[in-house]
Amino acid sequence: MSGFLDYFKGSRKSSAAVAKERLQIIVAHERGVLKGPEYLPMLQQELLMVVRKYVPISDEHIKISMDKDGEYEVLELNISLPDLSTKSTHLKR
């Protein structure tokens, strides 16, 4: 009977749609992780520790990625430092 009720409710998302959405997210995530070299997550952790010795930053403020630019592999490192002029604890980009 659930098909019958769902027909009138109409709003609830089907379980197949939920499955598809969950898969799209996890697959995109896993492709990203697996694409880079194995040391990438560890490198990110260690870089984070070094920067933290001087500036308080959280995990979200460091982004690391590996890209191909023609023949070269490019390691891109992006650290958003907190704005030091304002002495608030809120971290701005």
């Binding site: 009977m1 659930s2 098909g3 019958f4 769902d6 027909y7 089907s14 379980s15 197949a16 749609a17 499955a19 598809k20 969950r22 898969l23 799209q24 996890i26 697959v27 896993e30 492709r31 697996l34």
Partner: protein
Amino acid sequence: MAKIIVVTSGKGGVGKTTSAAAFSTALALRGYKTAVIDFDVGLRNLDLVMGCERRVVYDLINVINHEGNLNQALIKDKRVENLFILPASQTRNKDALTLEGVTEVIEELKERFDFIICDSPAGIEHGAMMAMYFADEALIVTNPEVSSVRDSDRIIGMLGSKTLRAERGDTPVKEHLLVTRYVPARVANGEMMSAEDVQEILAVPLLGVIPESKDILRASNAGVPITLEEKSDAGKAYQDTVARFLGENRPMRFLNTKKHFLSRWFGG
């Protein structure tokens, strides 16, 4: 030049061996000289599914270890001309599948066959890696279900990095998606992802959709590749799949529910 096709999935129980048997049988029925190799060392089953289990004397590992030659190990199918089965070993472990040994076997088969179908074991271990290593094309067998789709994605990643073609920088392994155990009525109900959904997530061209069918168990009980069951929808779907693989234009059948629309409402 022989074409090497791996039948793979990552996850177990999705229909790899059934598909390898059906696909190779359909190719042979069309006149192509076809060999199908079981790479599941220690857990061989292709012989049972194809009904030649009592005719196994020498196996893949025997050939690799030069304990027997390829002619002794290849089992000629009794029903279909041009179809040969190379069984896996049941007693050795997977380490016996050396790269050098497999290379030698594949090279010899390439001289004699049009198509070499490699039936991969489940998982991402050595046996699965050996099955995909020499592939020119891959049949990715996937059920419309979350764990199967995720595992297929993992395997697709490996086809792009761990194969001979990837290592050499040749044209990549050509991938084909085969969705199996498909239940159109459940797709219509929103309880099962559609073949298009799976195709969209994996981003691999859809080659075929095989409907869930009671005939498949019946056929494997009897040791008959489902392609030989001419009245079966699943058998026809495999025939269509192979036709498309060979470049024919065949519409997808068996994607729609045959049930009356009222039965959908009342939980049919």
